[in-house]
Amino acid sequence: MSAIAMHASDGLFDAPTSLLFAAVAVAGIGAAVLGARRDLDDRTAPLAGLVAAFVFAVQMLNFPVLPGVSGHLLGGALAAILAGPWVGALCVGIVLVVQALLFADGGLTALGANVTNMALLGTAAGYLVAVALRGLAVRSRAGLLGVAFTAALVNTVVAALGFVLEYAIGGQGAVSLGGLATALVGVHVLIGIGEGLITALTVGAVAAVRPDLVYLLRQRAATREAVA
């Protein structure tokens, strides 16, 4: 089997847990739709579509992290830094739906869990880190790259922790939760380094060409205008 991307499959979680996280995902995506309305206009909407397409494309590019183990971008922090947290969550959510429906990647019953981990939790965590460090990001190019890297690393690890939480609630295998958490977080720190490098590279490239299209940088200017 080719192992491009690869999200949680059907059968990992029991039915109530799958339903619970389907409900969480629907609520979260619903909130993101409402929030995204404020951040999308004639200029940013087409580019936000491109952010989703870019996340899809880069998720296909599994990179090696350990012998026999690969990792791939999740993209939540990347999308949120470029397009804002609401649009960013929608970008990752759309990618997960396209992958599950067209490419049989990520189980249909696990879609809610996958959306919750990667589109909601990962994106929110990455964005919060980026906002907390915004002062560094606007100060210098190196600062922006460092913030993008850190936000993406946190995004990956939090998404893995989200999976552990879901598995703790309704996982269907006989394994120790502590062992699962340790192994999963360990490997996702390594994947997060890759995610951080890709995110820093991409955000740096966009900021070099069109800094006005980087949401994280734009917000500060908007806040300053509002204050002044």
Partner: protein
């Protein structure tokens, strides 16, 4: 205005081409080893005849309900050498869905954001 719009078109086209190039070409270089999640979930199990045996977190994982669909596993009708084609279709599908949704949600010029805006 025209200059700004033209710049936007160039940017859109450039980034779209980068996405197509990544999914359609660079994807052939992707590492085919199981990813972090899969490798941790399968740790403790061995796969024999497509079935996981032993005890592991992923031991109850089932095949995807759409595993026989034309683009399953980023191949075309099971043909891995067409991953690039599957990738290009995926980029176009994502762009269509996301672009369409974001277009519907956007604030129209000259109108304030609101239920009808």
């Amino acid at each position: 205005m025209t200059t700004v719009r033209r710049r936007g078109v160039w940017l859109f086209t450039g980034v779209a081409l980068i996405c197509l190039l990544l999914a359609g070409g660079v994807s052939y270089l992707a590492d085919s080893a199981p990813d972090g999640l899969e490798s941790v979930l399968d740790d403790g199990c061995t796969e024999t005849g497509g079935e996981l045996r032993g005890s592991c977190a992923g031991q109850h994982a089932r095949d995807h309900a759409l595993a026989d669909s034309p683009l399953a596993d980023y191949a075309v009708a099971g043909n891995d050498s067409l991953t690039g084609v599957a990738g290009v279709l995926g980029v176009l599908a994502t762009l269509a869905v996301a672009g369409g949704l974001f277009r519907l949600l956007r604030r129209r010029a000259g109108k304030p954001a609101g239920p009808d805006g």
